[in-house]
Symmetry: C2
Subunit: 198 residues, 2 copies
């Protein structure tokens, strides 16, 4: 015997989480065995609760408690601009700047043929659907500045521009407060490419 | 709004886990929202299951499914030697070498005044209790080779030697396969101190 069965099972389940290896799964399991019952119960319940109460917004595909998410229901937001992101967490990042007040659309992934992720698996059909009901004029593609994010942006541009939609891409450049000296050359190249007249 | 309430609650619960910061808690939460319901349910259940089915062995304080753990119930093991460790996971490490076939005792912590862990909080009383019923002759103190582990070892030696118990400490030295060149000086010093005649 190495681990008692319920412990081995807990470790196995924890190991399935992203970024949790065998060692950290063990550490987490021992931690859960040590904490008071009510604390472990709270974690266990919050998993079920989140699964039961959350769904994807039928409009923008963001995580939502209702059929339509809070952002989509907010009538003060500009309905002509939609910011396309890869994951729900990207919305949280953009909302944090407290300045962008338009719509979103979550693709739930980025095109990545090596990982077997193709356009059909992303929520692009749901995005196209929105053009039928919403006065969308501009799509800001705010996917990550990575090969996958850039390929996805390119794909969307090719798909949407023929429909008369303005497609823009967030700038790739020097992070604010960064030092040129420490920037990698791909970032620097992008910063020069995305330059604008002062 | 940044996160829907059930999501915020799940993130808060995940953040309480050791080594899980705000960013990884978010990543784990989004992962759990993405996986099929039955998978999240399995994790949730395995937490409750482990809490419900596991207890501390009344003899050695290891994690156990029964009142006495498998190791304590194993009659082929040497009952005269008890290896004292800090945490249940240390037993797993020692059992893995497949050679030590005696008893254990888990202290559930190491003496560390800076972290407010004093001898009274460790399961030392339970260890002393065992001398009344078990033919223990030697205690091998296998706590970590750290300040806390060494202080705990020293404390146990002072406590048990007057009772006529042989108290030994695992060797601190060069890891097998390591290179002198890369060893820190504390390890090298210990390796010299623990030297033995060939």
């Amino acid at each position: 015997m190495l681990f008692a069965k319920p412990l081995a099972e807990l470790i196995a389940e924890l190991e399935k989480l992203p970024g949790v290896g065998p060692k950290s799964a063990q550490r987490l399991a021992y931690h859960l065995l040590r904490v008071p019952d009510h604390e472990a119960l709270r974690l266990s319940n919050s998993i079920l609760d989140a699964k039961a109460k959350l769904q994807f917004c039928t409009r923008c595909q963001n995580i939502s408690e209702a059929e339509e998410c809070e952002i989509c229901r907010d009538m003060r937001r500009n309905r002509t601009i939609v910011c396309v992101v890869g994951e729900p967490r990207d919305i949280v990042a953009i909302e944090r700047i407290n300045d962008y007040k338009a719509q979103y659309h979550v693709l739930h992934g980025l095109i990545s043929p090596v990982d077997n992720v193709f356009p059909e698996q992303l929520r692009i059909r749901e995005l196209l659907e929105r053009f039928h009901h919403e006065p969308i004029e501009e799509i800001i593609v705010a996917t990550n500045p990575t090969i996958e994010g850039d390929s996805t942006a390119l794909y969307l541009a090719k798909l949407l521009k023929p429909l008369g939609i303005k497609v823009t891409r967030i700038a790739h450049g020097m992070p604010v407060g960064g030092e040129l000296d420490y920037a990698d050359s791909a970032t620097l190249m992008s910063a020069i490419e995305f330059r604008r007249e002062m």
